[in-house]
Symmetry: C2
Subunit: 376 residues, 2 copies
């Protein structure tokens, strides 16, 4: 085990598999982190999340600071206890939601003044306050505050945003409360400009982090441009540090990025799609709202061992989706999270077996040749 608590067990081309050693247990990588925005992975009990194989979830600083508040969670014993999740938690910094959810007031060197999307109240977030909040939550992996530039944006806009993000990264690291086993990650920005991405990596390396995220992707640039950025950035990141691709993505995005050397992922896709009637399978994506499932007695995926596929038919899922029953969200979210974990389980096995390329092309062929029914 390295000083940073990250151990690489095998590599195969650019791909790797390893183990994150965190205070609340090990996480096998490449890892998918279900999103637990407001202190709950939507539609799932914590024991259900663990049953899908997940050992780390993501919590949102932005949402939790607004409701119920970081100081309140700290008084109640921290986020793990609050949401009854005994394993690891990574918290984002709030930067992304400031752009996507908050009514923005003012971005300045010092930080961001904004209005809550919940009740319109005014708040302030700076690199120091973001790290303070993540400390109050008791997060195991904490992210620096960055400015997420809109997409598309001019090179000049991306360049000035990057410069601000790098100054904030330095302040975030200074504000990070070091505790044994706890990680602080920097975030590489720079849009789709290879030289800006490399400049970002260099600046983060001088600050030194326990891991490095690639941010600002999956915002509309397309899968091929995203893979280009990853392929251009990953090799310059330290081999022995975990690499986290933020907010990605679809099953084929994840497999493609893991093949390029990414170790960690988070995305709302499996949970949000599950609430909208969509299921991911080894043979593509299904929309259970479609009438063709109404009398189909087969499970979502005959190759899946999840609770949903063991007990319930597509006909039942069609019925409860159409009827708006809560169990529809529970079953499809459970299946989707299990599928994302299972997909990376098998990817890790392929890396260990030096079979990554064959696994990935087989996976992508089956998935992309399958029917892709969009969410309802």
């Amino acid at each position: 085990m390295s000083a940073s608590g990250f151990e690489i067990k095998a590599t195969d081309g650019a791909a790797r598999c390893g183990t994150l050693h965190l205070p609340r247990g090990m996480v096998e990588t490449p890892a998918f982190m279900p999103v637990g925005t407001a202190g709950t992975v939507k539609a799932m009990l914590p024991e259900n999340v663990a049953a899908t194989g997940a050992r780390i979830v993501l919590g949102n600083t932005y949402h939790l600071m607004l409701r119920p508040g970081a100081e309140r969670i700290a008084r109640l014993g921290g986020l793990h206890k609050f949401m009854d999740w005994p394993f690891s938690i990574l918290t984002d910094s709030g930067g992304f939601q400031l752009m996507s959810l908050a009514a923005l007031r003012d971005i300045r060197e010092e930080g961001v003044r904004f209005r809550s999307h919940v009740d319109g109240s005014e708040h302030f977030l700076s690199p120091e306050r973001s790290m303070e909040i993540q400390d109050l939550l008791g997060s195991d992996i904490q992210m620096v505050l960055d400015e997420c530039a809109p997409y598309p944006a001019s090179r000049e806009r991306i360049e000035s945003s990057l410069a601000l993000s790098m100054r904030w990264a330095k302040r975030s690291k200074a504000g990070f409360q070091t505790k044994p086993g706890r990680f602080c990650f920097g975030i590489v920005q720079g849009g789709v400009y290879p030289d800006l991405r490399l400049r970002s990596v260099e600046e983060l390396l001088t600050i030194e982090f326990d891991g490095y995220a690639i941010g600002g992707l999956a915002v509309g640039e397309g899968q091929s441009a995203m893979f280009d950025v990853i392929a251009g950035t990953a090799p310059s990141l330290p081999q022995m540090r975990p690499r986290y691709l933020m907010g990605v993505g679809k099953p084929d995005d994840i497999i493609g990025a893991a093949r390029l050397g990414i170790d960690m992922f988070d995305c709302v896709l499996p949970t949000r799609s599950g609430r909208n009637g969509q299921a991911f399978t080894w043979a593509g994506a299904l929309n259970l709202r479609n009438a063709r499932h109404a009398e189909d007695s087969s499970p979502l995926d005959a190759n899946c061992a999840c609770m949903c596929c063991r007990g319930f038919s597509r006909a039942y899922l069609h019925h409860v989706v159409k009827s708006g029953e809560i169990i529809a969200a529970v079953l499809l979210t459970w299946h989707n999270l299990f599928f994302f974990q299972d997909m990376l389980d098998r990817f890790r096995a392929a890396v260990m077996a030096q079979d990554t390329e064959q696994f990935c092309s087989r996976f992508l062929r089956n998935y992309r040749n399958g029917q892709i029914e969009e969410a309802g």
Copy 2:
């Protein structure tokens, strides 16, 4: 074990505890049956329902005939398999929902023609068709079709409704598909008129049923009038047959009725209230939406061993109720169903110990002296 598959283990005054022997296992009585309207106990997985202690749930003929359809469920292997519930199911006849949900067209001697509340399509339900649907569903305990008169209604209206219900009861019994271990229950009607209730009992006894329900209560007559009807009716029902009080009720209604000799209950209260932020406890009812719970680190009920009370604080529940998270419905429904089961577990123990009166007065004192916060 008696011929009807109902065994009385102990009596104490009018109260009794016993065992229903059904094809899919035993049910201890007095029993509470969670309502699984459309093939799901709302917000609960079947394994969660079983974890609360329930061994029988109620399915609604009216809802299931409209969506997904009784013939479709039969082709898919029956309701137990469809909803992945391995224990017993009682189905109602559809009579109550015809009055409360359907756009009524026409009640005639032959049956009821009505429009679906789901899509406006036209349907017909008769005693024979109700029993046919319940047979297609594969229900373990099937109810006769009755006409549920509105409340309040004149004595004349109740009397003519009762006469129709008794003719329908005879046709229902004739249409009931006898199978080993399967029960058919008659329903006593007659409003709040003691002589009409007794007339109803007499007519049902001449038809002969495996159990007897008391219908048409908890519709606005008040608890004391309801208890009067039960006290006036139960003694004339056969001792050795199970007695089912339909659609009741609040915790104090259930304990009061069990004390008068009722063996079975169903009600949407624990599930519906759970989705609306209300929790039932040994010290009254709580509305988790109230700000006073926002920083309370204690569980809903320190005397409760349910999953929710073992893992989560009132502060967490307040947060997820306020945030509209699905886990709020899951946790509060789970707790409420567990509480209803636990309440009747302890009632049964009291009957076995010949301690029913003391148990009931202690329960009612604690419950009624507690804070009763209505659902949000």
